[in-house]
Amino acid sequence: MNQINDRTTVNGKKSRSRVLEMSINGEAHEITVKPRVMLLEAIREKIGLTGTKDGCESGTCGACTVLVDGQPTLSCITLAVECEDKNIRTVEDLADGENLNYLQEAFLDQGGTQCGFCTPGMLMSATALLEKNPKPTRDDINKALEGNLCRCTGYNSIVDSILQVSDQGVKPRLL
């Protein structure tokens, strides 16, 4: 077993911080991080975009999903240094100022958000799915969202939201 005697040093030396360039929501950012900092913490604490949520911290719940080069990625188990020169999109990229995009409107129409904690991850997974497959079936959606857990168990309305936005016969609920 590797006993950690001094938890902040490697062989008695502090590890080197790195300066990284990455594009977040189309804006170039330069951040300075240690290798042990996760992408999630870089986005939330260094950049200040707190839309991405920190759930299980072990890659299970999917609340931290962001798009790295268009691919849905769990930012809580991705090192920030791994994302050097990558193109990252978070939930803040979806709305244009005060105007929500169609997917977010569909979530509102269907009641796809309850407590809202899983919603950023759900939106990013759904965005990646719709960019790859504009008309997903219910099965495709279930498979694409299997890594996003909703503890309010509102899965049906989330799936309906994605069917609504992909124009597959699901109408907005009357409120």
Binding site: R16, S58, G59
Partner: protein, 331 residues
């Protein structure tokens, strides 16, 4: 954030990566997708002082070699493996097994080589030591296995849970392993020691570079089953892979292979049962009973031995039926 400091390197080729691992000795780890390593580092089950990342290396697409076998780069992402047309057409079993791995995000991040080299798991082992209410378990440096007190003193009962490894064993895949002294080739089954403490035969600076899957013969049939509690986003309760070849009459079995995963410290094979299936007309019910009695499943994640044995009996029968139907061309 990971609670201790470590160094990070991102070499441009696997050769440089082995050199870096070799320099640092046993205290460095290779980082591919990180979906297994990062949670383990967060709970400090493994605490490498150097991570050698391979994210700067672009994997080659799966391709057919001159001898008909298919070469798959070990850095291929699981989602790319599922989507690759060559794999879907020639090795549908491999595509299906990769498709059952965890969630969409994990498949996008995780690599094939990383899936094969994932650490063994146990409910007690995979948590922070603060939550291990007695001493650290045997794999973590303690005296004995606390979750299974009836276990032998010097044995770890953590379970190897890869969904893809049993498929590659059944398909007779070969691994090309890159080390500091060049490459060597081993059979897929020789990657595993069957010991929970040290599940792999790889040296400290060795990296799986590529996987070669030979072509399948005529009248070949396969069946794959992964039992899970929730369907998606789950490690398997028991994973069953059966491949076989039928004779020209469409009834007699020439040879068959049964591989189980997630029920032992490495993939398990009921070899006596497999021998009894050679040149015989198969009775799936009898074979399922024989196979489930022959192997000894390890209790894991709350499933006891009796449950796992019964699960294996039931699903071995169903998987075998579908493998025979696949070989007969019915499905």
């Amino acid at each position: 954030m990971i609670l201790y400091d470590f160094e990070y390197e991102r070499p441009g080729s696997l050769k440089e990566a082995t050199a870096l691992l070799n320099e640092t000795g046993g205290d460095a780890q290779l980082l591919a997708g990180g979906t297994d390593l990062m949670p383990n580092m967060r709970v400090e089950v493994v605490t490498p002082s150097l991570l050698v990342s391979v994210s700067g290396i672009e994997p080659a697409a799966p391709e057919k070699c001159a001898d008909g076998s298919i070469r798959i780069d070990s850095l291929t992402k699981l989602s790319d493996l599922v989507d690759a047309e060559l794999i879907q057409n020639e090795l549908p079993m491999l595509a299906e097994s990769a498709h059952t791995v965890a969630s969409n995000q994990v498949r996008v991040m995780g690599t094939l080589g990383g899936n094969l080299c994932q650490e063994t798991r146990c409910l007690y082992y995979n948590q922070k030591h603060d939550y291990q209410f007695v001493e650290p378990c045997y794999k973590r440096g303690g005296d004995c296995c606390y979750p299974f007190p009836g276990n032998d003193r010097d044995v770890c009962w953590a379970v190897y849970m890869s969904d893809i490894a049993p498929v590659l064993i059944a398909l007779d895949a070969k691994l090309e392993i890159l080390g500091p002294d060049g490459t060597r080739e081993i059979a897929m089954a020789d990657l595993y020691t069957g010991d929970g403490m040290n599940p792999f035969t790889l040296g400290t600076a060795e990296i799986i570079q590529a996987i070669f899957v030979p072509p399948v013969p005529e009248r070949f049939g396969w069946g794959y089953h992964k039992t899970t509690v929730r369907g998606g986003l789950d490690f398997g309760t028991a994973i069953i892979v059966i491949v076989l070849q039928l004779a020209e009459d469409g009834e007699t079995c020439c040879w068959a292979k049964i591989v189980y995963s997630a029920v032992g410290q490495g993939p398990l094979r009921p070899t006596t049962t497999e021998l009894s299936m050679e040149d015989a007309v198969l009775d799936p019910a009898l074979i399922a009973v024989a196979a489930s009695q022959e192997i000894s499943p390890l209790p894991h994640h709350g499933f006891n031995k009796g449950f796992l044995r019964e699960n294996i009996r039931v699903y071995t029968e169903r998987t075998l039926v579908s493998a025979i139907e696949c070989a007969q061309g019915k499905i």
